[in-house]
């Protein structure tokens, strides 16, 4: 891991605006993710959370503002080159390759970054340690996995490029609480053991804020609140909007 000074965040988003046609999805967003941090981005449907993640990857293009990664401006960099800067993404809805085997799915994660054979082997071992289930499923087609396993595969695939920053879009979407917890545990392990920086977009605010060091709340394309995870969990407006009634232990 390359050392970056503590003052410069690994990912810094400043005044970011993005739109789909005339519909403005991001209206000037500021977010910072420090190296080694887990940052959660929570908000209701249509708040612009996923758009923010996609805009970091250049689709849609930012209309205004800056995206800095490791002190470098990556606002205009083509999508496929951003992944090579060791930013990995597990997109919304998992988007694994259904007709390809689990092994091939994982290999796809390593292909673009030109990783060596040794890197590939150690990457696989790391993923199998994290998700032993995937090892049993190696020859199976991706589409035949359960939802939880597909999410594990999507995260595993993203990890194959040995990222410094992992961006996860709703990893708990449509999963049973027990499986969702396993996914969150795995993210925590990755962060503690490997110092992986994680930006996680979630609707499951309770889980995400407990996991995260810091959190941002997004409403209608703007950041309305920010603070440490536990701080945000205590805020009455957060409790009212995202937690009450939907609370799971």
């Amino acid at each position: 891991m390359t050392a970056s000074s503590p003052t410069t965040p690994l990912l810094a988003i400043r005044g970011l605006r993005a739109a789909y046609g005339k519909i403005e999805a991001l209206k000037g967003v500021d977010i910072e993710v420090g190296a080694g941090e887990i940052v959660a981005l929570i908000g209701a449907n249509g708040a612009g959370k996923s758009t923010l993640m996609m805009t970091v990857f250049g689709r849609p293009r930012a209309r205004a503002g800056r995206i800095e990664y490791d002190g470098q401006d990556i606002t205009g960099v083509p999508t496929h080159e951003i992944a090579r800067l060791r930013i990995a993404q597990s997109p919304e809805g998992r988007r694994i390759f259904p007709r390809m085997s689990v092994a091939e799915n994982l290999q796809m994660g390593a292909d673009a970054t030109n990783s060596s054979e040794a890197d590939r082997a150690s990457g696989l071992e790391r993923i199998f340690n994290l998700f032993p289930r995937l090892k049993e499923r190696m020859t199976q087609r991706g589409g035949t996995l359960s939802g939880g396993e597909q999410q594990m595969l999507a995260i595993g695939r993203a990890l194959m490029s040995r990222p410094r920053l992992l961006m996860l879009d709703e990893p708990s979407l449509g999963l049973a609480p027990l499986i969702a917890r396993q996914i969150f545990d795995a993210i925590r392990t990755l962060n503690r053991q490997d110092g992986l920086t994680v930006l996680i977009v979630e609707q499951n605010a309770n889980h995400a804020l407990k996991l995260a060091h810091r959190g941002y709340v997004m409403v209608n394309g703007l950041i309305t609140l920010s603070g440490t995870g536990s701080e945000l969990l205590q805020r009455p407006e957060i409790r009212a909007a995202y937690l009450e009634g939907g609370r799971r232990g």
Binding site: T79, A83, P91, M108, A112, A121, L124, P132, Q182
Partner: protein, 433 residues
């Protein structure tokens, strides 16, 4: 695997009986009674109960066959009436299909040396096998629906024809040039359609195929228009012509000249070209570019997120597919000795696409079998005269019912983990999830 059970048999008979009953009701008026206007315009009719009985019996028997086949190929858990010995023998047979077919193909000119018709048919089938394998890269692997594949076939054919007739270049120089030119046109088509998928892509590629054909038809000064290009030189065996003259191959080997030599040579030439296509495709599938094609077919957004340059991935797929089409086209030109835009209609594109789809998108063996069935089967049914298209259509419908993913819908994985298998097998036990 479940063995045969009584309810299965009873069920099949019941179903066949119902089908036969429906057939009886339907056909009793359609076939059982024949009506016609008599000489004075009055209604005359007569009965054909023999024909009716035959139809009903056919439906009854056919229904049993259909049900047996369905159970045999059906989803896991259905009652299997076909004994397991038969299925295991069949699976062994399936594994042997490819090598046996290949050996047989190599021996065709030996076995059928004196049967010109079979050799010509073999060449035709192999041409379509090669076209199918070429289009398979674009449609089967990269998932880009290309309805204008014939354009590249035409580019290859005209490249060779024009280069050979105007500049006197030999076949072996023109062959790679035809491939390169077709690949270039593939990239040219690829650029405007980069953002298109599915239906929209199909329409644009369809138009592209027509544009190429219309240009060939109307650019009289270069292509000869509807008259085509005549007198395209025959291929030489690396400079040695296959002619009856003193410098010909026959004279050189001191054997009697026979026109069959050229046919046999053409047969092995297209076989070599087809096998080259197959070999390159298989190799590419194991490389990152081939994997990227398949991933592109599955999910373009995920591809981009993983750092795959979708632009170059699509363009290489178009270029590779087009190149093989161009090589096949050059072969077509040298074999025919005459080409005209008439040979490159949409019908050809549709035929090649049908071969790829029927074969099972992405399966090399499936495409070869489909080409054999489509081209060979078409010839086979020639004797059936007016029923030919009927039989053909029925075969297609049946295939789509039982094999909706094509003859060989299963795809072989390309990443294996033998070496890594031992790394952490102890972890598997902990894998309660």
């Amino acid at each position: 695997m479940q063995t045969s059970r009584a309810p299965g048999v009873a069920f099949i008979f019941k179903k066949a009986l119902i089908s036969a009953l429906v057939a009886l009701v339907l056909f009793s008026l359609m076939i059982g009674v024949r009506t016609e206007a008599g000489s004075d315009g009055q209604l005359t009719y007569w009965t054909r109960f023999g024909d009716l009985a035959m139809m009903v019996a056919t439906v009854f028997g056919g229904s049993i066959v259909v049900e047996l086949l369905r159970q045999w190929w059906g989803p896991v858990g259905t009652v299997r009436v076909v004994p397991p010995q038969v299925t295991s023998a069949l699976s062994l047979g399936a594994r042997l299909v490819a090598p046996v077919l290949l050996i047989f193909t190599f021996l065709v000119p030996v076995i059928f040396y004196n049967e010109r018709y079979i050799l010509d048919l073999g060449i035709l089938v192999l041409t379509y096998v090669m076209l199918g394998w070429g289009l398979n890269v674009v449609v089967g692997l990269a998932g880009l629906l290309d309805l204008g594949y014939v354009a590249f076939y035409a580019v290859g054919a005209y490249s060779y024809a024009l280069l050979a007739t105007n500049f006197g270049l030999s076949f072996w120089i023109c062959l790679p040039l035809a491939g390169i030119l077709a690949a270039f046109w593939g990239v040219l088509l690829g650029f405007p359609v980069l953002r298109l998928r599915g239906d929209y892509l199909a329409i644009v590629t369809l138009a592209f195929g027509e544009i190429i054909r219309l240009v060939l038809l109307n650019w009289q000064s270069v292509t000869g228009g509807p008259n085509g290009v005549t007198g395209i030189p025959r291929p030489t065996m690396f400079g040695i012509p296959l002619s009856p003259g003193d410098d010909g191959l026959a004279a050189m080997l001191r054997i009697e000249f026979s026109p069959t030599h050229r046919i046999v040579f053409l047969f092995y030439l297209i076989l070599a070209l087809a096998l080259l296509t197959n070999w390159v495709t298989i190799r590419l599938r194991r490389l990152p570019i081939g994997r990227a094609w398949e991933a592109l077919r599955e999910d373009e957004v995920a591809c981009r997120a993983l750092g795959i340059n979708t632009t170059t991935t699509k363009l290489t797929a178009f270029a590779t597919g087009a190149m093989f089409g161009g090589l096949a086209g050059a072969f077509f030109a040298t074999r025919q000795g005459f080409i005209s835009p008439e040979s490159f209609t949409f019908h050809e594109s549709a035929l090649v696409l049908a071969i790829v789809v029927l074969g099972g998108m992405g399966s090399q063996l499936g495409v070869a079998l489909a080409a054999l069935a489509m081209i060979g089967g078409f010839e086979l049914f020639r004797g059936l005269d007016q029923y030919r298209m009927l039989v053909f259509g029925m075969a297609m419908v049946l295939l789509m019912i039982w094999r909706p993913r094509g003859l060989i819908g299963h795809r072989a994985p390309t990443v294996f983990l033998e070496r890594n298998q031992a790394i952490s097998s102890d972890l598997v036990k902990e894998g309660h999830g």
